[in-house]
């Protein structure tokens, strides 16, 4: 988690793009919930996305997740991601119904921003930093 005066950010590190997106989901859930749901979800959603670069893919991914949680009341807990050519992804999400009391709702996310956004490959791993407007 990063300190930003007005908002919340996080940094994630992973060996592959797929893992990076999974970690980003974990980061998002930690921002939104005090006690994020765990285990296997009973519902399923599929998401397909593509982007011109890795940074945009990360922002689009997070905004997709924000929409699922806040717009549809579906909280993804498990994800399988396939990243194809040209930065296109297909994800199968398993999740649970949003329960604000149970998971300790910490407030809404307005959107993932391009501000200070960074995805770099360093020492064989991908490092990403993203700031969310809350």
């Amino acid at each position: 988690m990063l300190d930003h005066t007005a908002d919340v950010g996080f940094e994630v590190e992973a060996p592959s793009v797929g893992e990076l997106l999974r970690e980003a989901l974990r980061g998002l859930l930690l921002v939104v919930f005090e006690v994020p749901p765990q285990g296997d979800g009973t519902e399923e959603r599929r998401v397909e996305l593509s982007a011109p670069d890795l940074e945009t893919l990360l922002v689009r991914w997070l905004n997709e997740l924000v929409f699922l949680i806040q717009g549809e009341g579906f909280v993804p807990v498990g994800v399988e991601v396939e990243v194809g050519e040209g930065l296109s992804l297909r994800a199968r999400l398993r999740g649970v119904q949003l329960d604000v009391e149970r998971y300790g709702w910490q407030g809404e996310i307005k959107g993932a921003t391009f501000h200070g956004l960074e995805v770099v490959r360093r020492d064989g791993a991908l490092h990403a930093r993203v700031i969310l407007d809350v």
Partner: protein
């Protein structure tokens, strides 16, 4: 990153001369203490202001208000005007994610003593009546898609026609709650989906509903014009365009990032993504932004209606809550300044038109536009008036609030082991909140002292102090 070059122009006014890729000077307002805050964040927000000055068609100078703090793209507290005839741009990052987020002040003739007698009951009624948002919308208010499209064009007048408020409410809303050019077709399906269940909800974060009383009047004449006097109970509603506006910003930042190169716009920060006002993309965004703005005005209208219901249920039936003013602090509007029509972006800054402006309701025309500066939930908020100085120097703009100085994480850490709700109760302030996290994050200490911001605003002549309001009940999303 080290210091930046700026010079002092007068007691509270500073200039960053044009340098690097800047197309004009930047001017900011600060006291010694605010300067220290800026230095402590390594001038990150002033660097953002310098970034704003690099955008095409910017009209001199790019500005920031005394409540400046780090945002994305534009700093929060940023004001910039762009001339469409000079290739001037519109930037969603110059408006913010929460389009037309703003404040509405309701005034009553209820006294502080009367309030104290029923305070707990009123706090409970307000918390029950005004939903915060996700999973907590009012079951008795639903809006269908065709009606929502109409509301995006008509704003709160659509609600007033259906009994959610009084016709005179509209008089007290900036632009009468209806920005021209709203285009429901420029709003994405996803924005409709996010926004539809959220009309009439407060939201989380720094949004709140506060019952207060007037504890000090600084300018008798303006206070009289606004109908304010000591001991009187007021209600301040701080909310915005909810998921609908957030999604419009998300959609158009992405769109503008793609088209900016086509228009030769070089971006020093991707969140500054922009397109010419006079371009298909620029016009679409302005249409969607105006629609989201009308949604935000309507949202505050519905919350005001729920507030009136709560007051009636708490035993204040028949005691009117009049709209003193409703104004936004996140929008972009075409206005005339210096004899030309420019698009003024105010991001975390508020419109502050001076005396005589024909945009203002007749009753405020002599005093100038009411400017509402909410503070943190523990100390005080202020009512100011727009001035000739704000018209001359800041494209008719002023500060919008206290401004954060502590990250949410640091605030939570500072709140550990404390019971802020009880601490506030001991100060005579009742807090009703959806969760403890928001209360901790929004603690008073996390914010700059609004009095400091107001002193600079008043001292620099870009707003005039009228009255101070003290909180008694705080409802948080």
């Amino acid at each position: 990153m080290g210091t930046i070059d700026f010079e002092r122009l007068s007691e509270y006014r500073y200039r960053i001369p044009r340098q690097g890729k800047m197309r004009c000077d930047a001017v900011f307002y600060a006291s010694e203490r605010i300067l220290e805050d800026l230095a402590a964040e390594d001038y990150a927000s002033l660097r953002q202001l310098m970034g704003v000055a690099t955008l095409p068609g910017v009209v001199e100078p790019a500005l920031s208000m005394p409540d400046i703090h780090w945002g994305y793209g534009f700093p929060i507290g940023g004001v910039a005007a762009f001339d469409p005839e000079e290739g001037g741009v519109v930037s969603p990052g110059g408006v913010g994610f929460d389009i037309n987020c703003g404040v509405r002040l309701l005034v009553s003739e209820i006294t502080r003593e009367e309030l104290e007698e029923r305070k707990a009951r009123l706090a409970d009624e307000l918390f029950r009546s005004v939903p915060s948002g996700v999973g907590r919308g009012r079951k008795d208010f639903r809006i269908g898609r065709p009606d929502l499209e109409r509301l995006l064009v008509e704003g709160p007048s659509w609600l007033v026609e259906r009994g959610y408020g009084e016709p005179e409410d509209l008089e007290g809303i900036e632009s009468r709650g209806r920005l021209a050019g709203a285009d429901p077709d420029a709003v994405s399906e996803r924005a409709y989906q996010r926004g539809r269940p959220q009309l009439g909800t407060l939201g989380s974060g720094n949004h709140f509903l506060e019952v207060q009383y007037v504890d000090e009047v600084y300018d008798e004449e303006a206070a009289r014009a606004y109908g304010l006097h000591p001991g009187q109970v007021t209600v301040l509603i701080h909310s915005g365009s909810r998921g609908l506006g957030h999604q419009v910003c998300t959609d158009y930042v992405e769109c503008f990032l793609q088209v900016a190169p086509k228009y030769g716009i070089e971006l020093v920060d991707r969140q500054l993504a922009a397109a010419p006002v006079e371009s298909p993309e620029g016009r679409d965004y302005l249409g969607a932004m105006s629609a989201a703005a009308n949604f935000a005005f309507a949202n505050r209208q519905l919350i005001a209606h729920f507030t009136r219901e709560a007051f009636a249920r708490a035993g204040f039936g028949g005691r009117p809550l009049r709209v003193l003013y409703d104004l936004a602090h996140n929008n972009a509007k075409l206005e005339e300044h210096g004899g030309r029509e420019v698009l003024v972006h105010r991001k975390g800054a508020t419109r502050a038109f001076g005396p005589g402006n024909p945009e203002l309701p007749e009753r405020y025309r002599r005093a100038g536009q009411p400017v509402l500066v909410p503070g943190d939930m523990g100390r005080y908020s202020f009512v100011l008036a727009g001035t000739e100085g704000s018209m001359r120097e800041t494209f008719g703009s002023s500060a919008h609030g206290a401004g954060r100085k502590m990250s949410r994480r640091r605030a939570k850490k500072a709140a550990r082991g404390r019971n802020l709700i009880r601490e506030m109760e001991r100060m005579g302030i009742l807090v009703r909140a959806a969760g403890r996290a928001t209360v901790d994050e929004e603690m008073s200490e996390a914010y700059k002292d609004a009095a400091e911001v107001v002193e600079v605003t008043d001292g620099a002549g870009i707003g005039k102090k009228v009255a101070r309001l003290r909180p008694r009940i705080v409802v948080k999303g």
